[in-house]
Structures are given as structure tokens and as C-alpha cells.
Symmetry: D2
Subunit: 305 residues, 4 copies
């Protein structure tokens, strides 16, 4: 997030524009919690997790009246265009402002990777690596103690974190909302592995499917596995961002400013097939969905024990 | 763990002895799952989490008959002394073997730091730093989203992890089994902090007190905090050991061999006041308890916001 | 590397083939240091740096006679196809074997990212993140001590590591072999920044341009900067691979086996525009070059202080 | 460093005192670059490397006239006591101020661990773990490529980093300024190991002995080792501090304030035998030296291959 804020602000300043930061998202927008950013405010933030502009839920922004109040504030500060970084809610806010004629651009920033119009979101790579750190450690314990671990990773609507972290950790099974799963088949595989000499197992589960505790209960109906359920939860958020996320955020922010300077707007920024793209934000949100690369599940099946 | 295994085996070989590894703890001892270790088996394991000798629960070892079977196996392999690395259960096994006249030495290896006879156990420093990684990330989210996080860390009988990780993370409150706690006072402090401009809070809770979910429920009775409960759980285990743990394990293992070579035995190894010590294992377990440095809670109170 | 070895071996076994590992690269091939791999040999190696098959330089493999000796060994073990993981040298060996009619496939594995036929190589993302860890720490010192650091990162022929690590660290200048550089302009920028209140600077330099020490000497001719030269060197190699590298290696290895099963061969595997590709290895090496995305240098210029 | 700043400031505020920060060390003191610290200034800094108060060399502070100017500034701001965090230079500055009657307390903060009056300094544990990260990675490469690495770690006057990082990394030799070394014996050991099947080696060298390049040159006179020289250098500084360093810094800062409140002063704070201690700063600097625990070198000799 901070890397994107820095990129937008610095790129704008380099182009001779003024950059303003809005604290607490749309709540701060409506309340006028807006302040000019200096270049030195951006110094060093690229390495830090979280966001220097804070974040807040603001369901009230679904109301047209409140949206128009937000636009009033933007005009009061002499702001010509808004760049919103975030997930689903942030994007819909930007869409509404665009519909009211206020030039708003969305940058995909959510760890779940579930935004249409892009292959990757800012924060996804960091979250996957953080989950992987935990999975590697859990593998140490699973191996030493001959245990079966069911680990629930983030991903309400999309299995991307489960797939990437699962393949990286060498999971015995990856369970995602995009595809059916067969708990009995997973149980049979674990039993077969034991006969072949592998006493431990790791099952990576996207939270959108069910909870780790529920999965463990179902799994235990098929055998005695000395299984443990773990929910990684909030531990996957925050932390020093990876290089990939910082480069992506830097490119997104810089590209958003470039497009605004060219007079374009109402766009959703993304990266597709390794190229920066910008699509109409209204069309993107109304007519497209994020597509998870489920082929990683097939790869994983061929590579497990 | 692996660092201690390496230290015992290598130090013994350097002294001209043979070293044997026993897989799966006392279960493997009784089953005769015993094999000679070579120096090259130890190569590189100092950097790895878990244990190359595996671990298993074996409550049957409480029976005298089973203990004597274990001693039979040791004699069959020509083994003169046993070094056990572990926590409470491992120590009691070593104590029983010592009582039967088989020279057994205990090395404290448990992440909870709750072993008598030592200020620090192997694994504690690594677990604290792993918990701290998670707490630092949670702090990022708490700060960005103005939330209260209740984070349960390991420590059934001892608050050591909570205290060290809590002080390191700059927690607003640390709740440990060694001392009474006052949830209302914690709630009042959070409310007071909000008035002074600090919107987020971190409460670090030892699992021995209650679960994070229960604590959150109680806390929420005193106000509306947008609180979240997190249980770090198994994520705190495993992983690359820290330098402090590796040095400690190396010194412990080397010292255990030195004492055995001097003809001593039935000992609990430890570090006290920064010096290696060895105390009678029976006396240590029967008459002493681990003492947590609760003064860290007082330090933390003076250093928080 | 290990993730790719695991992927090739496991994917082959899943398809009913036997997999063999060759130690010490082409040297071991010619010497017949070849052994069958089992699925359990692959357990856990995905998380480990280095390579379980070792690596060795073997310039003698440039001779046709030696190449034919290698093919003899492969036939002796009943091996039908060879998958080579590595950089320039490994690829040319695979090309030669293909020219002699032995089916050989190359998988790009080098931290420099300088292999034709792919946007990314295995190891690049890990090396960039490792370099970034160091740069973040150096930034801490630079900021605290008002210093100018010239940091040389790996990249003899390609500036990829310098660009990715430099953008991620928020470098004040990135110097790469693909483009001219102007030391005086960099010195002037540092002086200008000081007037604007920024006392520290970070210059990221690809080793292919010149050494950090030489760059520092030239820079110091333009002013008094309290500058320091650092060469990251071998510290950038090894270590736990990132999720991106593990996923990439898993996909590459699995894809190589898939192509071999389809009867294809003499290929260079790669990822281009986020899609797996395979191109003729001879044509790829003879007629194509790796293309560095130098636009990241422009992005960085717009985002720095 | 930041953890200690936070501890001093917060502990003082909790006791009802005002806390001031001085930027750029003694240079800022003399220039009057002094500002009051608020509790919220301290929020989150415990997790960050470097120092929010900056650091600067200031050899001019050796002059009595300049020292008295510093005391003038302190009086101007109504400051009654000074807590200095740092190494040798900082301590001598504090000693001088104490000699002039201005109550000054030293907290040991240097990565080299070479301050008298304490077993451990703030920053040492972090630096050792950072060096260890690099050594673990180098071990990956050494093992894969059968190489001998000579790695120079920080430590001009003391071998502490070399000893702790060397034992932790399982070094084949640790060379420190406190003890004689025998390069021929090291070379012979490497050759012997090769005969026994270990092809790689790691030599950890304290910078106070000689440079890695010089050591490599001397080593190469005894055989053909495919050796590489690496200087870790500045990469060992900075970065997120470890739990041990944060707890130590928190305790030191809190203890310094406690002593000042009791009317004591002119002290050097330390930890000895795991207990906080405070000794006369003048006596400590004039009559005592840091004692490195060289027995770790003996331990390492018994534990290596």
C-alpha cells in the first residue's frame, strides 16, 4: 500500500502536480481529512507494511448523498482526480465517483488477489510469502511429529493464496472454492502415503471453502490422523512488502499518474500477461470477474508425494 | 533441537566415543529404533527446524516395566549413557531411567521456557522471535485500521513467551498466568489512550490464562473496541533457529558430553546467570520450579503509551 | 533449483517414468555419477536453498569428444531425455547434446535473469528479495548516519537485479549495463537533495558496469559525500526460496516433463507474458537475447526524492 | 537503538518527567538540535532499525571547550541528566560530561559487543542473526559448489560476532583477535575433511584480525581450495531488531531512568550474569575491558566435522 501511495505522490510531484493524501479512506474523504503530501513524507515508507493513510470501513459511502459530499470535499481542496487503492469496496466507491463525473482510478490492493482486470494485486505476493513462512515451519513440526495439519489461509472468494502457498509448501492437498473437493479421496491419499512411508501431511485450505476446524472434523470421520487445525488469519497481513509487490505498486502508481496526465480516467489499473493495462472501471466491475489460475492445483497433484 | 543433537554427537565423536540417535523419543527407545550417527549426518542440520530424530508422545513410558525394556535396548546397543532433549515429559523419563541406575542427562528443549534448573531453554528465543514477527505484522494492521488485537501466544504454565514477545512488540498489556489481571483496567486504559489519540491496541495473552476468544468476549463487555482475537498456535513452532538458540544448544550438548566423560550423570543441564550449570535431575524435578521473570510486566507498563 | 529438481522427478514418476539425478552437472554426467531418485528423496527439499545434486564447473564439456562420453553414460543408464537446470553454460551443454541427437531440455535457473527465451528465471525473485533485505538495512544506516552508499549487486550482463532491487529499495540512482550513466548528474542530484533536506543516498549498481569501489572513487571526484562502497556478492545466493520462485520452478519442471511425454524435445522452457512457453533451444541460444525491462529505471527516476 | 530511546523517554514520562531527544549525537548537543519527545513519537519505533535521533561523528567533542558548550545547551533546555546510547566514543563523551559534573549515564549500544561493564550490548544479537542469515546462505552455496568461503564479519577489537555467528553457522574455523591462529592448521583440516568426504568449508573471520582477501591469499599458499573471500561489512547493521535486543534495550532504558530518579548518576549500565548492573562510568572506562567468551572457539572445535 505505502509503495503505491509513494508512487502516486512522487510521480505526480515529478510531473509538477500537487499530491494530497486522504486519511481513513472514504470516511476521511467525506470528513475532509485531507492533507498535502510532501516528497519527504514518502521517504522510507516503501519498506513498511500497513498504510500511512490509515484505513477504515465506511458502508455509508453506498449512499449517493454521501458520495456527493465526498466530491464536494475534493473540489474544496482543488483536487482534479482521485486514485483509490484497495479491494472490492474501494473499487465500487471509485466507480460511483466516476459515474458522478469525478475522475477516479482504481489500483488493485488486496491480499486475496480477487480483483477483476488484473492478474496480480498489490499485497498478494507478500501475503503468499508470509503464509509460506508459516507453512514451512508447520512442515517442520509435521515431519518431526508425524502429524496431519489442516491450515486455513485467507481467500474468501478466491483460492489464489491457497494455490500459491500450497504449491510452494509442497502441500499434499489444496482445497479452493473454485473447484469441488473430495475429503474421502484426501483421507485415502494420506492413508496410502503412510503405507509408503510418509507419516505427515499438509492440507492447505482457502477460508472461502470452510474453516480449518470444520475440515478437520470431516477429515477425522475417515480415519485416525492425529490431525491439527490451524487458521493463519490476520497473521498473513502486514509486514515488510516483498520486492515483487513494491515493484508492482511502483509501476501501478506511476502508470495511474501517467494516464491521468494524458487526460484519461475512470479506469481500473492492472497487470495482465506481464503488461500494464487500464480498463474502464465501470465495465470492469460490472462485466468481469477475477479468474484464478486453477491449473496450479493440477500441477500440485503431480508434484506431491 | 537439531543443534543440540549435533553438539552431543559431534562432541562425543571428538572425544573418541560412538554416538547413537534414537528416533521417536522413548517410543523408539523401547522399540529399538536406534542407529549410529556419523559426523556427516550432522552436516547442515544446525540451520534446520524440527528434529532429524523425530518426536512422539509415549505415555506408556510412565510404567516401570516399559522403562526397563528401554534400558534393555540401550544395553543391547552397548550404550552407556543417554542424553534426553525436551520438556517436562522427556525430563521425567530421564529421571526414571536415572532412578533405575541408567545414567541419563536432560537438556532443556521446549519453546515455553518452563523447565526448572535453567533460565533459558533451547527453542525459546526462536519461538519468541517468530511470535514477534507475527506481532509486528499485526501492529501494522492494528495501526492502519485502528483496531484492538488480542493475541494468544504459547505458554500453558509459563508467561515467558508472552512477556518477551509482548515487551518486544510494545504491547499495551501482557496477561500471564503468574499474575492476576484486571480486564476492566485494560479496557479503561484503551479508552483513555483513544482520548489521547492512540486508536489501536495490542494485548498479548499467554494461553495458560484463557483463550484469545474468551478474553475478547470479556473485554467487549467493557466497551466497543472493534477487537479481534488471534491464536498464534503451532505457527510459533519450527523454523530456522536463531543464533542464541544455536549457541545455547551447542554449549548444552558439548557440556553434557564433558560431564559424562568426567563420570558424572543423572543431571539436568541448564544456564543460570549466564553460566552453564548441571544439577541433580531428580532433585531438580522434585523440588524446584521454573521462575518466570515477571518484572518484565512492570517494565512493559512503564514503557507503553 | 531444488524445487525444479523435485518438480521434474515427481512429475515424471507420477507419469510412470523413472527419474535419475546427476550430481555435479556435466562433470558428473561424464563420470557417471548418476542415481535413481525416489519420491521420498524429494520430500522437504522445496524449502531449501542450494541444490541436492551439487554443482560444478566443467569447461571440458565444450569438447565434442566429452559430450559424446556424456551421451554414452546416459544410454548406459537407459535414460531417454535430459533436463538441464541452469544458466548460460548449462544451456549450451544442453544445446550440444540436442545437436548430437540426444533430447535435452533447458530450464532457466540463474539469479541474474539473463537467459533468452524467458521473462524470469528460477532464483531471480529470491536473489532480488535477498538483495532488498540488505538494501533496506543499509537504508536504515544511511538515514541514521547521513551517508551515501554505493551498493553493487549481481548482474554481469544484465541489470535486472539492480533494477528490481533498486526500485524496491527506493534507490536514488540505479546504474545498469544496458544504459549509459552520468556520474556527474548523480552527484548533482545528491547535492540538490541535500539542499532540499535529504542527507542520505542509495546508489544501486549492477556489477557488470564497474565495481562499487571504482564507482565510489569516481563519485567522490564530484564532491565530499561521506560515501561507502559495498559489494553484496555471494551473499545474494542461496537461502529459502520465495513463493514466486518455487511456483515458477514447479511449473517449469512439470511442463518440461509434459512436453517430453508428448514427444517434444530440444527445447528451452520459459515464461513469457505470464504464460509457459517452450522454444527451440538451438534457435533460442543462437538468435535471441534476454531483454531487460529498462523502463524500470525511468519509473525509478520519477519516484525518487 | 530506537527501543532504548523509547524506553528512556517513556519510562521518564511515566515517572512524570519530560524527555528530550538530541539529534546527531554530541554534534547536535553542541548545536542545540534538541526537541521534546512525546509518547506518540515513540509509537512503533521499537520495531525499526537505525535511530530516529540520527547519528554523527563528532571528534571535536574531545575538546573541553566543546564539552562545556554542550553542557550550556543542556542547561538552556532545563535538562538535568543525559543518557547516552552508543559505543566507545559515546561512552567517553558521557564520561567527560560526568567529570564536568553533569550527570551522564551510558547505555551500551554497539553491534561489536566490545563495551566494558556488560556481557551484552544492544544491537549485538541482531547483528549476529543478520550475519548468520548470510552465513546460512553461503553454506548453501558452499555445499552445492564444494567451495571454501572465508567470511569476514564485523568486530575490530572483539571476536564476539565471529564467535557467535561462527558457532551458529557450524563454521570449520573461527579466527578472532583474542587468540592466535594457525592458517596452516586450518588448511590441513580442510584437506583432511576432503579425504573424509566433506568438500566445502566455512571460515569465519573477525575483521580485527585481517581482511578476508588477505586471509584467502595466505590460505591459498597451502593448497588449491577454490576459495572465495567475502566481507559482510555494512550489511550487518540496521534491520528489524531481534526480541532479545528489544528486551535488553527496554530494560536498560527503564533501568537508567530508575537510577536517575534515585539520584544516582555517572554510570555505565550493563547486564552481567543475566542481571542489570550499573557501574561508575569513569572507573569502568579507565580500569576495565570487555572480556570475550573465547571458550566458544573451543566448543566450536569440538562440534565441527
Amino acid at each position: 500500500m505505502n509503495a503505491a501511495i509513494r508512487a502516486i505522490a512522487r510521480s505526480a510531484m515529478t510531473a509538477g502536480l500537487e499530491a494530497y493524501g486522504i486519511n481513513y479512506g472514504f470516511a476521511g474523504l467525506v470528513a475532509g481529512d485531507i492533507h498535502q503530501l510532501s516528497s519527504s513524507d514518502m521517504d522510507g515508507i516503501i519498506a513498511r507494511g500497513g498504510t500511512i493513510l490509515y484505513s477504515a470501513r465506511f458502508p455509508e459511502f453506498a449512499e449517493e448523498k454521501v458520495q456527493l459530499q465526498g466530491i464536494e470535499q475534493l473540489k474544496k481542496f482543488g483536487i482534479d482526480a482521485l486514485v483509490v487503492i484497495g479491494g472490492d469496496g474501494s473499487y465500487h466507491g471509485a466507480e460511483r465517483l466516476s459515474q458522478h463525473g469525478f475522475n477516479s482510478v482504481g489500483i488493485p490492493g488486496t491480499i486475496d488477489n480477487d480483483i477483476p482486470g488484473t492478474d496480480f494485486t498489490i499485497g498478494f505476493d507478500t501475503a503468499v510469502n508470509t503464509a509460506l513462512d508459516a507453512l514451512d515451519r508447520i512442515n517442520d513440526t509435521a515431519t518431526s511429529h508425524q502429524r496431519v495439519f489442516v491450515v486455513e489461509v485467507m481467500g474468501r472468494g478466491a483460492g489464489d493464496i491457497a494455490l500459491w502457498a500450497g504449491v510452494s509448501a509442497g502441500a499434499d492437498a489444496i482445497v479452493i472454492p473454485e473447484r469441488d473437493y473430495d475429503i474421502k479421496a484426501i483421507a485415502d491419499k494420506i492413508k496410502l502415503n503412510r503405507k509408503k512411508g510418509k507419516d505427515h501431511a499438509l492440507i492447505v485450505l482457502a477460508e472461502g471453502v470452510m474453516s480449518a476446524a470444520d475440515f478437520k472434523t470431516k477429515l477425522d470421520q475417515y480415519g485416525s490422523f492425529d490431525s491439527r487445525a490451524i487458521t493463519l488469519g490476520h497473521v498473513q497481513r502486514g509486514g515488510r512488502p516483498t520486492a515483487k509487490d513494491r515493484v508492482l505498486a511502483s509501476r501501478f502508481g506511476d502508470y495511474a499518474v501517467k494516464l491521468l496526465l494524458e487526460g484519461k480516467g475512470s479506469l481500473a489499473i492492472g497487470i495482465r500477461d506481464n503488461k500494464l493495462v487500464a480498463t474502464d472501471i465501470i465495465d470492469t466491475l460490472e462485466n468481469h470477474k477475477h479468474i484464478t489460475d486453477v491449473s496450479l492445483q493440477d500441477v500440485n497433484k503431480r508434484l506431491r508425494f
